[in-house]
Symmetry: C2
């Protein structure tokens, strides 16, 4: 068992690894971007994760390296591997979360269900794809997108002329990914954790609701998902985790189409916003499970703690106030709400926390979670 | 709302306040006894809590002071109060957890149910009490006892000659407390949290099982406690908290006598071993509730998360191994067990962690918790 788990990145995902590390007595040490990072309590070093020396010297002081985000450059990670550092997920798996074209290629090769897609390097190629797919598509940059950034709905190749111009300037022959615009009934997410030794465990499949490209709420389990849907989602996630050799937590974001197919949308190889509900909603949270998995410890049970769990994100509002300023009101009105603050300076639209409520009926649970979270929205 | 919550003492109780502080975004700062304290992650200072200057300078840097233990001397606490520092619980309440004779006097005055008791300062007075109570009694030092220390079963005054000799040497006219030896069916504990503004919230009454004077296991709720017993226990705890002006978490340890009376045994004014089950077993844990209460924030819901929760303490065994050494085996065999390590060097008999299991039936829940915990016992 590793003595020290090193996390690159000091965001809220690293922050939420702290409680289970404290409970299990695991030593968690974070390489943070700034002194005021969300995970500052566990930060032992502040530095740039894009700097090879910074990452190497951090890795020298820990027994296993894992991540708060997927942005550490491949050459830096491969250098760590070459030096014998335990890195989870492995760089060769993480690559598929970093590059959406490689991800689509790999999933297609594995025979996993994905939207129709193509790589395009010119407006003409994009126009061809659009005309073959009802005149519309979803255009994505292969790298660097998150929370709706780097994603654009297009109906005409001219709408993407700026991106193609930027690709040309890059001078490295880059390509964009275009996908069919899927008619979906709703979005789902399936979380799974996998150990280096291969053991894996899935949680209940959940429904995710996005607003402006950002996750707004998660309903766990996804309403009506018992039986076939739950099995299909878990099987897909297991095939992805095994096929790509993922270690740690993997989130598979999926579309449930209007014609009842499941298509894989995005992958995230780390604890994920769609799994925050597991802190209260599951016997083992995604954060505890990630620590177990990257330490190659046996995984914990993922049974539901309640029939329903609903998680609502809290975004920074127009005022400069913090969530904590509103505790007297929110905690007083909603004593059953579990409030999580990420200790961040609020900025409009920035994820600053979330609220989770557990309960016996979906309607009441969702009502209470939304009502409590909405009080922070000012 | 206070910006910084200062905790005096760096034991496991302070350690277990860290996860809810991280979740709620509260700044928790600990004055620890040693560099290697259980709560070292939140320790901002190492020093002696019996030193007035150390405690004062620590208090100057925080907004409210609370405790991991009840051992801070009264003059130091009263000095803080005189300087306008917010201290919870107040020194005048804490006094009753520090001095068992004062506690018995106060509870008797409030008309609360306690065993028959007397203050004795000589073997003759003890002999008189024993002969009036069937020839047996429980002798306690007024101060300094915990986990069975400072408590002795006596049937003859001669058995206490060393304690009386020590009292005489103290030269301050000290007294011992003697109580009737209660015929009890079982021991119960009732936790309550109370805000400075007076709001209070109780959890389910629990059964505690002691071995060698140390809490060994907790069954929540106490089997068969629905209805009258639960109401009686909650009412007693509320009268104690209100009557003594306790703020923060209060644990009331009680006997359920063979003739079905409830008698108050001990008080603890801080999160308590009998409440560790609330981390998984209640919507709001005792540690989160303590932070809310001492910050005068609204209290959280205390509903059960499962029909039954069983907590088993893990004590250091004869080997020098840590709990973490045994994780591959224990976590593998008991995936539903929630394991808590206090990050302490194991010594035989020292509390080094605990295991909690939640479930639908008491038999299965207790079986799993005991089985998982017993694997650490080596």
């Amino acid at each position: 068992m590793p003595d020290i788990i090193g996390v690159i990145g000091g965001g809220q995902l690293a922050r939420m690894m702290i409680p289970p590390a404290v409970a299990l007595g695991l030593d968690l040490q974070v390489l943070a971007e700034t002194d005021e990072s969300s995970a500052r309590l566990a930060a032992v070093r502040v530095g740039d994760y894009r700097d090879a020396d910074t990452v190497s010297s951090f890795a020298d002081t820990v027994d296993v390296v894992t991540f708060d985000h997927e942005h550490v450059p491949q050459p830096i990670l491969r250098n760590l591997m070459a030096r014998g550092v335990a890195v989870h997920p492995h760089p060769e798996a993480l690559l598929y979360a970093q590059d959406k074209i490689l991800m689509r290629q790999k999933l297609s090769k594995l025979g996993l269900p994905v939207p129709e897609w193509a790589r395009v390097s010119s407006p003409e190629q994009l126009a061809d794809f659009l005309s073959a797919h009802g005149g519309r598509g979803v255009l994505k940059t292969a790298r660097g997108g998150y929370d709706g950034k780097g994603v654009r709905m297009v109906t005409d190749a001219a709408e993407a002329s700026d991106w193609f111009a930027a690709l040309a300037e890059d001078g490295n022959g880059g390509e964009l990914l275009v996908e069919e615009r899927v008619d979906f009934r709703r979005e789902l997410a399936q979380l799974i954790a996998r150990r280096p030794s291969g053991e894996s465990a899935t949680w209940a499949v959940v429904e995710t609701v996005q607003k402006n490209g950002v996750c707004a709420e998660v309903l766990a389990p996804a309403p009506g998902s018992e039986g076939r849907l739950a099995e299909t989602a878990a099987e897909i996630a297991t095939r992805v985790a095994d096929g790509l050799g993922v270690t740690g937590v993997l989130a598979v974001e999926m579309f449930e189409t209007t014609d009842e197919r499941i298509l894989i949308n995005e992958l995230a190889m780390r604890p994920h916003n769609s799994g925050h509900w597991t802190i209260e909603g599951s016997v083992t949270s995604q954060f505890e499970q990630h620590l177990r998995a990257v330490s190659d410890l046996p995984l914990g049970a993922t049974d539901l703690r309640s029939p329903y769990t609903v998680m609502i994100n809290v975004l920074g509002g127009p005022s400069a106030g913090t969530m904590e300023d509103l505790y007297p009101e929110v905690l007083g009105q909603y004593p059953s709400a579990k409030v999580h603050s990420y200790g961040k300076q609020p900025r409009p639209g920035r994820k600053v926390g979330h609220v989770t409520v557990t309960g016996d009926t979906l309607d009441e649970t969702a009502y209470l979670a939304r009502a409590a979270a909405s009080l922070f929205d000012r």
